[in-house]
Amino acid sequence: MSAVLGISGGYHDAAAALVVDGVVVAALQEERLSRVKNDPSPPLRAARACLSIGGIAAPDRVVFYENPYARIERVLVSLLRGFPRTFRQFPRAIGAQLGSKLWILDDLAEGLGVPRAKVTFVAHHEAHAASAFYASPYPRAAVLTVDGVGEEAATAIWHGTEQGLREVAHVDYPCSLGLLYAAFTAYLGFAVNEGEYKVMGLAAWGSPRRREELAKVVQLSSDGGYELDLSYFAFHTDTELGFSSKLEALLGPRRPAERPWDLETAEDRAYADVAASLQALLEDALLGLARTARKRTEEECLCLAGGVALNAVANARIAREAGFSRVFVQPAAGDAGGALGAAILGAMKDGAPRPAPMRDAALGVAVDAGEANMLASALGFAVKRVDDRDAEVAGRLSRGEVIAFVDGRCEFGPRALGQRSILADPRAAATRERINRAVKRREPFRPFAPSALAGTELRWYDEPGDDMTRFMTTVRRAKDTTLGAVTHVDGTARLHTVDPESRFGALLSAVERESGIPVVLNTSLNGAGEPICATAADAVAFFAAHAVDALVVEDVVVTRRPS
């Protein structure tokens, strides 16, 4: 038996994944257990949880998702290239590298109690590429990895075949689409590594009227490459700020972070236009890269990975226009997915077979309904066990209730796919308003996703589901406004198609029997600034602190007692 533990971390979204004899047994982000959103610290809790799920005392090998020595070299070279503007960044950047990041392999060995010789690494973008290609259903594919930065590359094109992964071309730091998006995320007043989704949601409210101006910021070349005009940015010279005053001179002053959003005002509409222009630019850049990947590999299928691959709107455009017949994005496409890729690469290097295609993302810790029962009772809530959980949930949803829903093992990645979800009726647009303001306490412009029984989606959407809708990593255009709560302002929805044979599929069938449509509004089970719930305690705490009508943990239903 061969058990390989993959680890990502150090920057944001640390995670662990366990592959045993070529089977992906567990994968989990550290934030789910530490309760620190996007927790970057070495994921020892997640690693131990994965080992516990797999019944493994100690892994045969631990594989880290990047080369820490190449990373420090790149940091040093980059600081020297930026001389003398990097003088403020130098002490902090070198301090961070020498203080902790350089010793990550030793820290993992010590923390997990394995000999140092058993802790190895793979390259950052190779881990990303492996997480997408080897989790995909394709025997051969072009692979495009796009994120902030790895050791040196910020973007890479790969060719995945039966023989393995081979790099075709790359774009080096500091020209990075991930850091471009991050800089604009900061410009628009959102937190970097957290607010990127918000920028994507905001883009639908604007018009890409600033696209021409952004052509000065990023130049796209005919070979699919791109180049950032670094004078508009500061991420390479300053640890605090991603953009320079020149960008503000071009687009106007940055948006104050603390000001509430009001898209009725011209000022905020102008920021939405910037978001829309950025989105258009990103899509053009990704499309160029994808077309080049198609040309250089001559493959029919494409896999995408890296944080930028979580941009569902861009993924939909790539699927339509890049010339591939099929496109796949696994749900933890960001740095967390690097742990999965590292584990798979390590296992395959040890002779394990390629894993089976990923069918669902329920790879995390399981929930204990008995614990939820005990805790909810202790906190004074009304608790009951039900025989037909799905009928209970369907009935409540049809009465307009908003349900916190917990079932089985938690999802790997940032998407709620029916294991840790907030569910509601997808029809009334007012439901979206209620959940945004009263439950999630987030910006009013942000959309929610629909989960629909696979095979029924053409009743509401223009195209059928595909390899991406299974994991909610693309969008579809709605035929009408029937599903008002899950249709974004631009008429799109981040569709999630659900296997009718799955437990969540059974729930959707019950919903159809009750309401006539096998669709629910599905958003992640977390409040503002919190990681998605993992355990029963997390779910009960969420229920206690947020205005949902009921909490359903497997067959346990928790409600508030009438006052």
Binding site: L33, S34, R35, V36, K37, V77, L79, L80, R81, F83, P84, T86, F87, F90, P91, R92, I94, G95, I157, R166, E167, V168, A169, H170, V171, D172, P174, C175, S221, D223, G224, G225, Y226, E227, P256, A257, E258, L289, T292, M374, L375, A378, L379, G529, T535, A537, D538, V540, A541, A544, A545
Partner: protein, 216 residues
């Protein structure tokens, strides 16, 4: 109590200082919430798990309240704290002693600041602080009872508290040391940075930045 009373006029003196103080409270409450959530996941006792979770919910509410108050005063400082994982590091008794000590100090501090806020005519802040001080008193009470239960006696609880105070003093000493080392590091690294000028030229010649799509 006395120190908090003495400092109150300075910390609440202007909206900016007030915002900074309230953001610091939000961070402390958020950090406490995280530690309590970790403790709830780690304790072997279902009753204590429920108690820690309930306490964590209060801390989360306090953090949100302080963060909102900081924003109302024009603050933009971060309001999310970091967990120290005191349960894993100090054991359950040490964790409880530390929490009890912190709640006791928080209650006194908030009460003193509430009095000062009332004198300054900020009735809203005074009410907020008084309400949170009341919660802190309840937390102090239940953690005190649990301390006695876990240590087996009043004397055992007092001993655990003495250890918690000593550990906190040691932690403060290390934090100050780290801050001073940080200053020394920044100065020395800045000097080193400028001494690296010859290497800058070397890097520019030997390792020029590659632009665009680079074939492998």
């Amino acid at each position: 109590m006395r120190l908090a009373s003495l400092l109150a006029p300075f910390t609440l003196g202007s909206p900016r200082r007030r915002a900074r103080l309230l953001a610091a409270f939000a961070r402390a409450e958020h950090a406490s919430m995280l530690d309590l959530r970790l403790a709830a996941a780690a304790t072997p006792s279902p009753a204590r798990q429920a108690a820690y979770l309930s306490h964590a919910l209060d801390e989360e509410r306090h953090a949100r309240t302080f963060a909102a108050a900081a924003r109302e005063n024009g603050g933009s400082d971060p309001v999310l704290g970091d967990a120290e994982d005191l349960f894993a590091r100090r054991g359950e008794l040490g964790f409880l002693a530390f929490v009890h000590h912190g709640e006791s100090r928080g209650r006194r501090q908030f009460a003193a600041l509430a009095t000062r806020a009332e004198r300054l005519g900020d009735a809203r802040l005074a009410t907020t602080l008084t309400a949170i001080a009341t919660d802190e008193a309840q937390h102090e009470s239940y953690t005190g009872a649990l301390l006695v239960e876990l240590s087996g006696s009043e004397a055992g609880a007092r001993k655990a508290l003495r250890r918690a105070r000593a550990w906190e003093a040691w932690r403060t000493f290390r934090r100050v040391g780290r801050a001073m080392a940080g200053v020394v590091w920044t100065v020395s690294m800045t000097l080193l940075y400028f001494a690296l000028l010859p290497f800058v030229l070397l890097v520019l010649v030997a390792r020029p930045a590659r632009r665009g799509l680079v074939p492998r």
